[in-house]
Symmetry: C2
Subunit: 264 residues, 2 copies
């Protein structure tokens, strides 16, 4: 029986330690092909490259693993992987990460890591985005590896049915202290911005985006709660952004005419 | 009584005809402040600018309207508008667009227009993304204007309750042929990619992303159906990507141990 085909990508770039850790785990389970950005692409969300051409280059980064670096966004990487690199071969699983830093809660919408996984899920491919709650380049990915392997094997062995996309975050705690996996919903937290203003030599202002993560959603069924209590959070996710409850409560809007509120 | 404060942005850039049409409508209803990208930002999704500084410049683009152009993404524009330009004044409504081209169905996740509106909704601001199904620079925004005004006035007058974000798409048909507003869910359609490959003078390959929109979700409660039948589609949307049905059906995943599938 042929080994399953696993596509690996990320948003921190192909030389980030996180993707190396993920490739090592994936290589134990299947045939691995890597298509990842040639530069850091954090915070790129679901961006695609429309107004510029995209470069794709075969590289030797991992021993015995086919790898390509791409000048585009994480979502571009998945599109190019499927249609150019793998020429529409069946991909059994797409894994993205391991991201250096949390993608829990609202981070999912800003994250290139998760957007890449979502793009694969749109193509009908089971996908998992992995993130470790440690932003540093020297983050220790070892404690999470057996859990990542278990989740990847589970994904290969089981149909995902409704959701094809899992957002998995790993607490930054020592081996043995991880209490298990916890299926959660996305906490309703957000970033509170604080711009850093500076001046260039012509005294013109420019701004650096910064901010802090604020969570007022303290319920025990959230990913933030799970992570704070030593669990790996697993959020089944989706690309349908319809607010179904509002679809019922806002029915009155259909009665609006073009002239309903017009004063002329 | 002071006039409501309306923030206007887009992703086609501050000189696009679509934003001019939107500013004209907004100025009839309130005090308008424009913060929009200084260059086209289509397909930027929910990208934010992390690794580069962002420029913000006061410009005279619209008569008697305060306007700023920003070097960042549409989401950056909303963040800067709230915290730098408006210094945390209360924004009563954020409108984004009018986008040149459809943002119905899955386009919502790639769209800078809708991501800007979503960013405002994350801040608790009622937001509407408007798009016209005509990609051309010379698109005719006139037939949609009375409907846009009615929706904006409705948004100012009514609490949105559950959803703070509306994705509104306008069919490209003549004045008088628009049949009304239709509250819909996002159709489950997607883009099928076709990359255009070319060679540079060094014979190195590069790729242009292209593709076609394919919809197999023909149900009458979708935005694509509404648009094809002469309605303006209104999809109440949200930033919670949790797949709640899968949250129940995948409970078994919590039983996985780190060693569950490990062969060592």
């Amino acid at each position: 029986m042929s080994r399953p085909l696993i596509l690996v990508t990320n948003d921190d770039g192909i030389v980030a330690p996180g993707i190396r850790a993920l490739v090592e785990v994936a290589a134990e389970l299947g045939e691995v092909v890597v298509v990842a950005p040639d530069s850091p692409q954090s915070g790129k969300g679901h961006a695609i490259t429309i107004h510029d051409p995209i470069r794709l280059k075969h590289v030797k980064v991992f021993p015995d693993i086919e790898a390509w670096e791409c000048s585009g966004t994480p979502v571009d990487c998945v599109k190019l992987a499927k249609h150019i690199v793998l020429k529409d071969r069946q991909i059994d699983l797409c894994v993205s990460g391991i991201n250096h830093g949390s993608n829990a809660s609202i981070n999912i919408i800003y994250s290139g890591t998760l957007s890449a996984a979502m793009e694969a899920s749109l193509e009908g491919i089971k996908s998992i985005g992995f993130s470790l709650l440690d932003y540093s380049f020297e983050a220790n990915f070892e404690p999470g590896k057996p859990w990542i392997k278990a989740l990847m094997q589970y994904a290969l062995d089981n149909p995902f049915h409704e959701s094809k996309l899992l957002n998995v975050n790993i607490p930054n705690i020592p081996d043995g202290d991880i209490r298990g996996l916890r299926l959660c919903r996305q906490a309703d937290a957000r970033w509170v911005e604080e711009f850093l203003e500076a001046r260039d030599p012509s005294n013109q202002p420019y701004y650096w985006l910064t901010g802090k993560f604020v969570n007022k959603d303290l319920a025990e069924d959230t990913d933030v709660w799970a992570l704070e209590h030593g669990y790996i959070s697993v959020v089944p996710s989706m690309h349908d952004l319809t607010h179904y409850a509002a679809l019922k409560s806002m029915q009155g809007i259909e009665q609006l005419g073009a002239g309903a509120y017009l004063k002329h």
